[in-house]
Amino acid sequence: MAPEDGWQRVNKLSMLVQLVRLGFQAIIPAVFLLYSSASDAKNLSTVGPIIGAVAMLVIGAVGLSTWLNWYRLRYRVGDSDVKVEKGIISRQARSVPYDRIQDVSLEQKLVPRLLGLVQVKFETGAGGKDELALAYVSEAEGERLREVVRALVEGEQAAEPAAQEAEDAPIAAATPPGRTLFAMGPKRLFTYGLFNFSLVIFAVLLGAAQQFEFLLPFDLWDYIGSFFNNEAVNDAGTYLSSLDMFARIAAILYALGVVLVLGVSTGVVRTFVRDWEFLLERTAKGFRRRRGLLTKTDVVMPVHRVQALVVKTGWLRRRFGWHGLSFISLAQDSGSANHDVAPFAKMDEIAPIAAEAGFSLPDETEQWRRASPKYYTDKAMIVGAVVTLVAMGNIVFGNALAGLAIALLAAVLVLREYFLWNFDRHALDPAQVLSRRGWLAPRLQVASRVKLHSVEIAQGPLARLRGYCDLRFGMAGGSFSFDGLALDDARKLRAAVLDSIAEVDFAKLPR
């Protein structure tokens, strides 16, 4: 290919990646199909050649379309925009101007990584599928694209204030020295994994069983049923029921132990795969985060694009002082709107990162306010009434034990509202709005006042009757609301926030 006019194709090896991916998708059903047809050995000799011919045809067609797809995909990094054209028959041409590109991120899944390829994503804030992505280019080309586009984006924005350090820029862009803000070693990851208890493995097994059941030569559920109806198991069952209480409890404990061990180890493995070599750096361009064992990602977030921060925790990990920090920004982070920047850290590690992003975490001097107690009273009454009705229904229809359990649940839910009233709070700084929600695992959200876009006071029928309301802020990339405030309080907050928004024009916001 001759890149004289700037047009280029993606790396040839990406065809291989595509084929491997398609191959994997085809292999699993194929194996099942072969397995089930092989059980009728007589048919194999007649069906075999047909299957072979069809397979060759499919492989040929897939190969051709993969090549065509590669051949018809081209991109160009121009003076003012990035252009991508693709499509075999219906062509799609897309152009993204530099001043709309929020960031360029690189992602490496397992197979591309083995081949030294990366996927380049141009984040515009459109989110998800609408983002412009190039799959795949070589690592060096990816790095080059990122540097070029980033330098051009910076250039576009720096042009307005002053043409300062115009000659330094490319040099600085070449090797930005990163300062490590946060990193997680294997030890920290292991601790993190312990708290990531997950039973997803059971769901996966069950899902796989349902997905491929029709391909199995026997009926899976019948098989399981017959397994339990089996004499031996039956005997074991009668044996178990003849055991004394102690042995039964021991058996239940054993089963619970197995589930616990499986859940914890799943959590550890998942954490290792996702967050391996987690590294957060402060570079000249912003925050740079790298992580991943099989899929390696490399994301840069410009500091001024951080709209708000979220500090989360879990009910158990909180007892050990562990919290997680994430940023809300315009760009998306593999499906979720929040960027994890320190998923598992102590508060004194989180504070410097927050400060780096221009936010300050609340301290003792913070003027916390609480929401209207009426809001929680109403919620408690509604929840309590509904659940109590269910409990009464159960008792009336002779399910006394279940009824009592549900009644207990009702009491807990009502109690929870009381605690929520005690623990939910919000505050207004000179520069930021803060909210803390939750009882056992509170979630702290801090947003910059000038980066909000609109303020709404919303009331349902009940809220109007009782004089409270929800205060909702329009924020880019996320949602932010205070629920159940007293009306006067909400009005005061709104007036204060609006004044600070109106003072600064959107175009003058630090970009």
Binding site: S454, A458, A476, F480, V504, A507, K508
Partner: protein, 154 residues
Amino acid sequence: MDAEPLTKLDPAYTTVMRLEGALMLLPILAGTIALYVSSVLPIWVPGLLFLLIAAVLVIYLPMKRYRSRGYHISDDRLRVVKGVMFHADTVVPFSRVQHLDVEQNPLERMFGIARLILHTAGTHNSSVTLPGLVHADAVTMREEIRAHVKRESL
């Protein structure tokens, strides 16, 4: 700040809402006729039901809606109030407006009214709609806000 008087919308907006309500009645009318013909219910029931629904959709709701809506425009922000059951009171500072629309559907065009839509970069409430303005007013407001946006960014 909530003391400021809200500007009412154009009265023609009520008429438009009444007509929209009447259009919604058409499928209900078909159902009523079907009920009447099949005569599962006493003859007078379908007709009465229809009249009740018509009264709510054409007379009651548009009136309540019109009364609950209003706006206030000051030199740097627009406040939009709406909602009969679910009340919403939104303020958008002009400095956060990304772009503006003035829209009319055929019914609105017949009565010379329009909707002004303010788009911001926020995810929640990213567009705030103010319906029921006289078309000329909507255009003037758009120009005013646009001038403000332009002045601020210069």
